[in-house]
């Protein structure tokens, strides 16, 4: 009881000071090397009481050991991405015919550095600018403006990571139940459509604390029910969810085209809905141009709840058992079909939330061509995060940064953002086949306790 009160008090304080907390978080992200160094210092100070360097080494080793392969995978994928960019660079070939091979390499590497520099700035902001802006804000009269401009990079990264967290959790939850939900893209669309519809469709003025939760809930449930179709089909007829969810995606694309260019359209020809009422907005923490909104907190809460559901509840245990071994689950009296339907519903609801936060937090409407590839990226996220909510959040932050950076890379260096998709596909390859990474970097064979990986290839009937 006392704990609950303290927790509530902490939450209240957090909400009241959320603006400043978020600003500090953004600055810390933008200046991550300093943050990291600070963390090290704190750890070193703590280690004095625990036995010094050897304790610290063990503490770090036990927490970071599992990160070696994912980190190397991402690094290698970025490296290959760089090679692809280098060899598809028109200027390199021009330089090759003009000034020979060294000239070409010089031009190519220069372009690469500019591209990856833009990627970094898009994701983390320019550290020099941030430090300067801090000085200006403290001394100047402009208020927070310069600082807000400087931390736009980290803010964009977090904003991009919000739908990723939801969609990644969706796929991860499916993985745990042995389901391969590749229909997240369509479920995102359904959630988005439903939430925006509730957002602009309710014309009587509702207070925000009713309207907003209602829109979020309707979006999540609609997407969950949509995904549950695939779950029911699998449970009842054995139809493989990979095919049904993909097909449902295409149905959503057509359905949304009809809705957006028809019944839900605001002005003819725009294929765009009216804007959501302000009472259904997900509020933002700070002013323009920093667009980070409360969806980020929702995403973190969803991650915690998903982890709690999977690892602390009976239903979660049943889901994981069905995922690990459906036969064993069946013989111990669990209903495999129920688990499939439940898992698809929850997975779809999570994916739907990814659309909901985009609709209520960023765009405030939905227009034709809303698909942004979150659904497919989320597969990489779930794999990268080893289907664990904490891992998914970390992977989402990484991919959110990549995405924010890619947008900047396109505007500054003219590199199509799709390169990130290529990098992501490579990341999945390396995570799924760690043997490649081990061979390339001459790492030792792992001990026998390889992390549990769900198997989906049970054929079409199972």
């Amino acid at each position: 009881m006392v704990r609950l009160v303290i927790l509530a008090a902490l939450v209240a304080v957090g909400v009241l000071t959320s603006k400043w907390l978020m600003l500090i978080l953004l600055v810390a992200l933008g200046l991550w090397p300093i943050t990291l160094a600070l963390g090290f210092v704190i750890l070193a100070v703590i280690s004095i009481w625990h036995g010094g360097w050897s304790w610290m080494k063990e503490w770090l080793g036990s927490r970071l050991g599992g990160l070696v392969i994912p980190a190397l995978s991402v690094f290698t994928a970025l490296l290959i991405g760089a090679l692809v960019m280098f060899f598809t660079d028109q200027q390199v070939y021009d330089a090759l015919s003009d000034g020979g091979i060294f000239e070409a390499i010089k031009v190519g590497v220069g372009n690469l550095l500019r591209a990856y520099g833009a990627l970094y700035e898009g994701a983390f902001g320019n550290p020099g600018d941030i430090i300067q802006a801090i000085g200006e804000t403290i001394g100047g009269e402009d208020g927070l403006k310069p600082l807000l401009r400087a931390v736009r990079g980290p803010s964009d990264s977090l904003v991009q990571s919000v739908p990723y967290i939801f969609a990644g959790l969706a796929v991860a939850l499916g993985f745990r139940a042995g389901l391969f939900n590749i229909g997240a893209e369509g479920q995102i669309g359904i959630g988005w459509l439903a939430a925006v519809f509730v957002g602009y469709g309710i014309t009587t003025e509702l207070p925000a604390f009713v309207h907003l939760p209602l829109a979020i809930l309707v979006g999540a449930v609609a997407a969950g029910l949509w995904a549950a179709i695939a779950g029911i089909l699998k449970a009842r007829t054995g139809a493989h969810e990979v095919i049904t969810t993909i097909m449902l995606n295409y149905v959503v694309y057509r359905l949304s085209e009809w809705l957006l260019c028809g019944p839900m359209e605001k002005t003819v020809g725009t294929c765009r809905t009216p804007d959501v009422a302000a009472s259904a907005f997900l509020p933002r923490f700070l002013e323009h141009p920093v667009s980070i909104h409360w969806g980020f907190v929702l995403a973190l809460v969803a991650a915690v709840l998903t982890g709690w559901f999977l690892f602390k509840t009976t239903w979660g245990f049943e889901l994981r058992t069905v995922g690990a071994n459906p036969d064993a689950a069946r013989y111990s009296g669990m209903s495999v079909g129920k688990a499939f339907v439940l898992a698809m519903f929850l997975s779809g609801a999570l994916a739907g939330l990814a659309g909901v936060v985009q609709g209520l937090g960023i765009t405030h409407n939905i227009a034709l061509g809303f698909q942004a590839g979150y659904g497919f990226d989320s597969i990489a996220l779930a794999l990268l995060g080893k289907s664990h909510p904490a891992g998914v959040v970390a992977a989402s932050l990484l991919f959110g940064g990549l995405r924010a950076g890619a947008a900047r890379m396109q505007s500054v260096a003219g590199i199509p953002t799709e390169i990130v998709q290529v990098v992501q596909a490579l990341v999945i390859v390396f995570i799924a086949a760690p043997a490649i990474i081990r061979t390339v970097y001459r790492m030792r064979k792992p001990r026998e306790e390889e992390a549990e990986v769900s198997v989906f290839s049970r054929g079409w009937g199972a």
């Binding site: 089909l233 095919i243 097909m247 449902l248 199509p416 998709q421 079409w460």
Partner: protein, 424 residues
């Protein structure tokens, strides 16, 4: 224990009933829809006239009466399905319903008008071409024991490469060849991941799909468009002399794009190789019981590489159909999930090239009729509006879901599918 076993048995039986019930309900629904369409969607005196370019009117049917008749037959079959004694005929009856319903739909669409029947069949065949090619890729891959959900990615990369190389060499045939080779390359990656690195084959396939989607977009924007290599044009129709002049059959079979002929030839060839040669027997053994195949001296993993890559080569041709066969350029994600539809066709066709072809014709028909409906725009009863074209475009995808749900439980995939083979 006994109770438990009984419960499990009961549940299993219930599961089976569900599928049969689903199909019966669908048949019932089809019958009802046809009768409603007949009653409210046609005029009493209307006739549906089917024509041929050379012969003129082939036959004309009274629309309303035909719809009533076929609807009644569907209802009768739905009732018949409930009896155990016709259980062995159920498959046949389902196919009968499918074809009757397709025909009845045509009759409704053309009520009060006329339709070029061979032309319709020909566009069905054309639409079925990439699906059949994709499904054959699936057959070659899955018969040897590798699940292939990467048909989509192989086709997409094939479509892309075909455009690029056709422009580069200024020859559509070089483009077709390159498309095929790149499809094979993607398949080689799939084989490498699933055979050598033992990656889960569903994940491996998904990787190919994501990689293909990303890489083709990236390269299209960064290489093809800046270099002006994105508009090679498309294949012309080739008429085969003499045969093309045969009435009805000629326009259907012998006035087509090259990809259609290639598909028909490959269909016969793949069927022959897989089912009537020693190599095919060995290959199928690798998918059914790799250990047994290994014992008699078949190199299972090498067989898997070869067969998967062969499948990729065929899928690449299917991809080239989309770019060089239809629009003559590359568009992002232009295969639009047809790779997955092909997969459903393969499952529907029971991992058999000709079966897959029949299923592909069904999907092709759904595609052809939705294009036709967009032109004719018949008015729906009760709503008094034409069907929005978006709903028509959903038809192939919905059909795929129904097929996969209705058929999969009864289909028998190769036994060793999805399992990496480890020599002992």
């Amino acid at each position: 224990m006994a109770v438990q076993t009984q419960a499990i048995k009961a549940r299993k039986a219930a599961g089976l009933n569900w599928r049969e019930l689903l199909i019966t309900l669908l048949v019932l629904l089809v019958g009802a829809i046809l009768i409603v369409l007949g009653a409210f969607g046609t005029q009493a005196g209307d006739q549906s006239e089917f024509t041929d370019q050379m012969l003129g009117t082939l036959f004309a049917l009274p629309s309303q009466a035909t719809l009533y008749a076929i609807g009644a037959v569907c209802l009768f079959i739905a009732g018949l399905r409930l009896f155990r004694s016709v259980a062995s005929l159920r498959g046949l009856l389902t196919w009968l319903v499918v074809f009757l319903a397709a025909f009845a739909f045509l009759v409704w669409v053309t009520s009060g008008e006329s339709m070029n029947l061979p032309g319709m069949i020909q566009s069905t065949l054309t639409a079925a071409t990439p699906l059949t090619l994709g499904a054959m890729a699936g057959v070659l891959c899955e018969r040897v024991g590798i699940i292939n959900i990467a048909i989509e990615g192989m086709m997409l990369s094939g479509a892309f490469a075909a455009v690029g190389f056709a422009s580069l060499f200024d020859s559509l045939w070089m483009g077709l060849l390159a498309g095929s080779l790149v499809g094979g390359l993607m398949a080689a990656l799939h084989a490498l991941l699933s055979v050598k690195y033992k990656v889960d084959q569903i994940i491996s396939g998904t990787v190919i799909n994501i990689l293909a989607a990303g890489a083709t977009r990236f390269l299209n924007l960064r290489v093809l468009e800046p270099a002006g290599l994105s508009t090679p044009g498309s294949f012309e129709t080739i008429s085969i002399p003499v045969l093309a002049d045969v009435p009805i059959v000629g326009p259907i079979l012998f006035q087509n794009q090259p990809t259609v002929y290639i598909m028909l030839i490959l269909l016969v060839l793949v069927n022959y190789v897989v089912f009537f040669t020693p190599w095919g027997l060995r290959m199928r053994a690798c998918g059914e019981h790799p250990r047994a195949a290994d014992t008699v001296g078949v190199n299972v993993n090498r067989m898997r590489y070869i067969s998967v890559i062969l499948g990729g080569l065929i899928a690449g041709i299917g991809g080239a159909y989309f770019s060089l066969g239809v629009v003559g350029t590359f568009e992002d994600g232009m295969t639009r999930g047809q790779g997955f539809v092909a997969l459903a066709a393969m499952i529907f066709g029971n991992w058999n090239p000709f079966g897959a072809f029949m299923a592909a014709l069904l999907f092709g028909f759904a595609n052809a009729i939705q294009v036709k409906l967009q032109i004719i725009q018949p008015i729906l009863p009760f709503i008094d509006q034409p069907i929005p074209h978006q709903f028509l475009q959903m038809a192939p995808y919905l059909l795929t879901i129904i097929v996969v749900a209705g058929v999969v439980g009864r289909a028998r995939p190769p036994a060793a599918e999805g399992k990496p083979y480890e020599k002992q």
